[in-house]
């Protein structure tokens, strides 16, 4: 393969943290497109404006799995506003870098958590 991943990316791919779904999630962010080869579903559980649990399901490459997994770790325990401040750059930094062609995966993870929060907010209004 012509792609060089950091050991941390490979580690998160091999042993992904927070993998699976949350059955009674307060918000779900479904992003990506199977036609493009990457789909992430990010689940959040919220209590007192804090993300108390976060899980993911991903169809995609090594980078897609690793970015979604580490994103769930980063936002867990953060306030909603704190989670909204997380950008793909934080994800890439945490992983020790990503190949250029895989940067879109980190953007997808950012989009995923934002969509999940949006979903939570729209539900909690009603």
């Amino acid at each position: 393969m012509d792609l060089e991943y950091t050991n941390k990316v490979l580690e998160y791919f091999k042993n992904p943290r927070n993998m699976g779904k949350i059955d009674d999630a307060d918000g779900i962010g479904k992003v990506g497109n199977p036609v493009c080869g990457d789909v992430m579903w990010i689940y959040i559980k919220v209590k007192n404006n804090k993300i108390i649990d976060c899980k993911f399901q991903t169809f995609g490459c090594v980078a897609a799995v690793a970015t979604s997994s580490i994103m769930t770790e980063i936002v867990k325990g953060k306030t909603i506003d704190g989670a909204l401040n997380i950008s793909n750059k934080n994800v890439v930094k945490e992983l020790g870098g990503l190949p250029d062609i895989k940067m879109h995966c980190s953007l997808l993870a950012e989009e995923g958590i934002k969509k999940a929060i949006e979903d939570y907010r729209s539900k909690s209004k009603t």
Binding site: M1, K14, V39, T58, G60, A63, K102
Partner: protein, 385 residues
């Protein structure tokens, strides 16, 4: 390591290496020089040319040594077209060719040639009916691969020649994957050009053959000295050519035994995967397919993840997913066969060769199903079916 990527490249046969070594060490004379020492190099090339001719059922002067399959394809396609200039014409190829052919053909559009791409059916076979419709008075060349590198489907090259022969249209076939696996006789096949590459049949990288039938007209790609009868300038890659000759000689003498052994292993791998893993689609033609190639789509997961897990276990294979092609599109071959994008992303190719053993196949059948299970358990589309 378990190497199951023989369609990408093959290891160098030890006998081939032995044959090459003298020409990398002591016998360094330029084959074009006139003294006795250089004539040793010349003689080695002549012998290799004879071996290549015997391998293909060709005459020695119909064999042109090149730097590999890509150069052979480029020479045939551009050479035939440029020899026509200032007249133009139309070139027909298939939509599942190797990029060496596809992009050579495409480059000719810039020069005013018309290029047409043949569709394939779900098995990867070209549409002969459509070819008939495409053939016209301005058609100068049809280039269709002998066997596809990704799915292994074997194309009806003989039928293509039959349609073109009385119209005076040249036929080129890229036999990079077929050579060494299927017996090829250019006289019987009656093609005008054929490309093959040494490193796909246990020879060295960087050397190949362009078969050009006596009397065909084409403009060389490389101009310079009078090498290869003015058809391909450049001081000969003597050691490479010797290695190629040896590799072809070995392939010719052992092809039948190898076919038997490799087919048994491939079938074992194929049946094992289809039995152990649900929701797997077999790609390529069920029968008209290279006996070493197995291409499958593993539904609900993506190829790069599978390859990486296999790599953790020391297994080398390949995939047609976008992630592994370095582009955003999955394999053009699978898409042309009508396989949807999301399925093509989950494609995997195992291609076997003469050094594989049954215990290696057993090992892959042991480790691969849990890899699929693990990735599916992660996938939002799987849902524990």
């Amino acid at each position: 390591m378990i190497y199951l990527d023989y369609n990408a490249t093959t290891p160098l046969d030890k006998e081939v290496l032995e044959a090459m070594l003298p020409y990398l060490e002591d016998v360094y004379g330029n084959p074009s020089s006139t003294y006795a020492f250089a004539r040793k190099s010349r003689k080695a090339i002549d012998e290799a040319r004879q071996k290549a001719a015997s391998f293909l059922g060709a005459e020695p002067d119909e064999i042109i040594f090149t730097s590999g399959g890509t150069e052979s394809d480029n020479t045939a396609i551009k050479g035939v077209s440029f020899a026509r200039l200032p007249k133009k014409g139309s070139i027909i190829t298939s939509s599942i060719e190797h990029h060496a052919v596809l992009n050579s053909v495409k480059s000719l559009e810039k020069f005013g040639f018309e290029c047409k791409y043949l569709n394939v059916d779900e098995f990867g076979l070209i549409d002969l009916g459509r070819l008939k419709d495409y053939l016209g008075p301005d058609t100068i060349l049809v280039s269709v691969m002998y066997a596809n590198n990704e799915v292994g489907t074997i194309e009806p090259v003989k039928d293509i020649v039959r349609l073109c022969r009385d119209k005076g249209i040249y036929v080129h076939t890229d036999a990079a994957q077929a050579a060494g696996k299927i017996k090829i006789d250019v006289k019987e096949l009656d093609v005008d050009f054929l490309s093959l590459s040494a490193h796909k049949l246990y020879g060295p990288k960087g050397v190949g053959v362009l078969y050009a039938k006596r009397g065909v007209k084409f403009e060389p790609l490389l101009h310079g000295g009078r090498h290869e009868k003015n058809r391909r300038a450049s001081t000969e890659n003597v050691a490479g050519i010797v290695g190629l000759g040896k590799a072809l000689e070995i392939a010719r003498s052992r092809m039948d035994d190898e076919e038997r052994n490799i087919r048994i292993l491939r079938d074992k791998l194929q049946n094992g995967i289809l039995e152990r893993i649900p929701e797997v689609k077999l790609n390529g033609h069920p029968d008209k397919r290279l006996y070493n190639t197995l291409n499958v789509c593993i539904k609900y997961i993506e190829g790069e993840g599978m390859l990486t897990h296999l790599d953790f276990e020391g297994v080398c294979a390949s995939s047609g997913s976008a992630c592994t092609s370095g582009s955003l599109e999955p394999s053009h071959v699978l898409l042309a066969m009508g396989i949807p994008h999301e399925l093509a992303h989950g494609s995997l190719r195992f291609s076997l060769g003469k050094y594989n053993t049954e215990s290696e196949i057993d090992r892959v059948l042991e480790i691969f199903p849990p890899i699929v299970e693990k990735l599916r358990s992660m996938s939002p589309f799987w849902n524990g079916k």
